[in-house]
Amino acid sequence: MSAMQINGLGLVGGFGCGRGDLQQALLHGRAPLSHVELRGHSFPLLQADTSPLETYLNKRALRRIDHFSRMALLGAFQAMADAEWSDPDPSRVGLVIGSGYGAMRTTFDFLDSVLDDGDICASPTAFSNSVHNAAAAHISIQLKMTGPSLTISQFDQSLVSGLVSAHQWLSEKRVDAVLLGVVDEYCSVAGYCWERYFNVQDARTMTPLDFTRTSAVAGEGAVFLLLQSDRDTKPRYGSISNVEMGNLSGSQPTTVSSHPLILGCEGSSLSGSVYQKHLAVDQPVACYTPLYGASPVTQGFDLAVAALALRRQQLFPSVDNGGSYYPGKVVNEPQACRKLSCLKYGFNGEYAAIHLERD
């Protein structure tokens, strides 16, 4: 596959907003944990604050835009600004958004309107904002982007599936650039499901490299990248040289033992067992999920970390140092880095691998 340059980055998550906040969190190895009320008890969450969006849009424009689309808009505005792209033609910028679950809060707001007052009082505003591509619509309207727009819902593989399409668009020259983002939000129903599936009500510290322990903390947020085909100019961050998605039942992701792997493990023993089985002990690994939590956006944040590392040509120390539980090689000191990969396994054997480099 031909390479795609990462030339702009926008992000909001539990660590804060923008690449500066993520970089600070990476250097300090921690992010502030919030606690939200969930059915009478406290639920730990790496929560995204979208108030910086008011830098880009006034309150009136934001009036009917929900949290999900606000996170997406904030990521999109930042990525375009970060690219420092003078005089872009918005009609030649494609938009790809991936989301595991879409605008859940608004979906349930719509159900509230029906359950509270009957079918006849269903909320048209909530309905039209609950469709998965509502965030893409808001972005295209605000950024006047009239090119192709694609929203994907592939759970944890949404990012890598989106990258496949972004690459197709760039290589077919449908567009000059692709603004690609992933976004997912927390809501109380998600919190309930989380507790039913993971039973980690007292979790405070994620140890995702301990594959036998469930320590996941929920996260939410958005990550956006401005991608362009490989050109004469150097990328602002680095280039994505290949993308792989598949299932371990039929294939394996490519790994190179000299290139560090950023693991998308999230502190779940279910998917942890897959990492345990398939990772070579001599493979240098790092994991940063304690900074942004577990959600379908996790690999997006991993990709942002990889981009930042390539820009400074130095990989950040792993936030989970591997303790006494990880038998392999963990990157625990800053390490020179020109090539690396992001790898995520699902508990059904699905994998998503993104390979990056900077010449």
Partner: protein, 396 residues
């Protein structure tokens, strides 16, 4: 290098029929059966008609309980794969991608579960388990033990058309040997209430492009195409049914639910589809319109068709299928292929009286066509527009 991508199999289930052939035949006979919903209740003062499937679905041998949307998708895939001539686990030996459009199939909106949750109860997780197992692209891949790329497209009502265009690109770039591409959606109380709340639901059977049109009727179904690489085609010595010649998509960047009044995005999507197909508007045997029967959609669409395709016959098949949302574009693409094969169009059922505000009228009777190329188009919430050019032959 030709950009044409071979279609070697097609499958379709909708209210018009439980297979592509039977759907087409019933349309040619002018049959349609919109009824009040049977699969769910509603407390609206009037029961809006829907196009529901009453027969049991062919997909029964599936792993675990799945959403109806996913069962519809697998059922249409079964027909398409059989049509393409694959048997047993042949597909599992190939690089097969799955690209499926949907709306309901991606929404975590189980009312019963949420109602219990709101009351403070601890609802059983079965509906969530089912939802998590039912991602249409992933479920099809799992069902056939496929290992290629998976993509569930959620571009609202253009999802099915987009999935076919995306799938064709995966073949063209050499990324896959085969792509199972299409769309699926089930009838659902949530979307029924949603469209009613927007006041774009006709209480009578839908009347696309008619002066008295009041809105859409929902439907359910699935349409799937087997797209195949030239290399595999040569190896299998298979004659394709047709080709995806071109695809285009563009965004209005105008409004969350209303189309741009001049059809800005639709024009661009059509222009890109024609350009990538290397065909001109005059070469179209017909246009399969989105034709939802809503005042805004039909107005904008007829304006664009009149401008870009003067004299070209057009039809909306939603009068037979209802609006199947994420499946619509895929169902209509398979029907477009059938119309080309049989060289005839069904009448645009529901259309009786021309709207003086619209410059053109759809075909009002079964119409013979002359040509081997047609265009199928979709408009969607979010301002998405997409179009796909289908042909019986590869162009020289």
């Amino acid at each position: 290098m030709s950009r044409a991508v071979a279609i070697t199999g097609a499958g379709c289930l909708c209210a018009a029929g439980m297979s592509l052939d039977s759907s087409f035949d019933s349309m040619i006979r002018g049959e349609r059966k919109p009824q009040p919903p049977r699969s769910f209740y509603s407390d609206h003062t009037e029961a809006y008609p829907v196009f529901e499937l009453y027969d049991s679905l062919p997909a029964t041998d599936v792993d675990g309980e799945l959403l109806r949307t996913t069962l519809l998708a697998i059922s249409a895939t079964m027909e398409a794969i059989a049509d393409a001539g694959f048997i047993g686990n042949e597909l599992a030996q190939l690089r097969v991608g799955v690209c499926i459009g949907t709306t309901v199939g991606s929404a975590m909106n189980n009312e019963e579960f949420y109602s219990e949750f709101r009351k403070g109860a601890d609802p059983d997780m079965a509906p969530i388990d089912r939802y998590l197992r039912s991602n249409p692209a992933a479920a099809i891949a799992r069902h056939y033990q496929l290992d290629g790329p998976c993509q569930t497209v959620v571009n609202a009502c253009s999802s099915g058309t987009d999935a076919i265009g995306i799938g064709a690109a995966w073949i063209r770039s050499g990324y896959c040997d085969i792509v199972l591409a299409g769309g699926a959606d089930e009838l659902c109380r949530v979307t029924y209430n949603g469209f009613a709340s927007l006041m774009i639901y006709d209480a009578l059977p839908v009347k696309p492009f008619d002066v008295h049109r009041k809105g859409l009727n929902l439907g359910e179904g699935a349409g799937i195409m087997v797209l195949e690489s030239d290399k595999l085609l040569a190896k299998r010595k298979k004659t394709p049914r047709g080709y995806v010649l071109g695809y285009g998509s563009a965004t209005d960047a105008y409004h969350l639910t209303a189309p741009h009044p001049d059809g800005r995005g639709l024009r661009r999507a059509i222009s890109e589809a024609l350009q990538t197909a290397a065909v001109s508007p005059e070469q179209m045997a017909f246009v399969n319109a989105h034709g939802t029967g809503t005042p805004d959609n039909d107005k904008v669409e007829s304006l664009v068709i009149a401008d870009l395709f003067p004299g070209v016959p057009f039809v909306s098949t939603k009068g037979y299928t209802g609006h199947t949302l994420g499946a619509a574009g895929a169902i209509e693409a398979t029907l477009t292929l059938m119309c080309l094969e049989r060289q005839k169009l069904p009448e645009n059922i529901g259309f009786k009286t021309a709207d003086p505000q619209l410059l053109i009228q759809p075909v009002s009777r079964v119409t013979e066509i002359d040509g081997t190329i047609a265009l199928s188009e979709s408009l969607a919430f979010g301002g998405n527009n997409s179009a796909v050019v289908i042909a019986l032959e590869r162009l020289p």
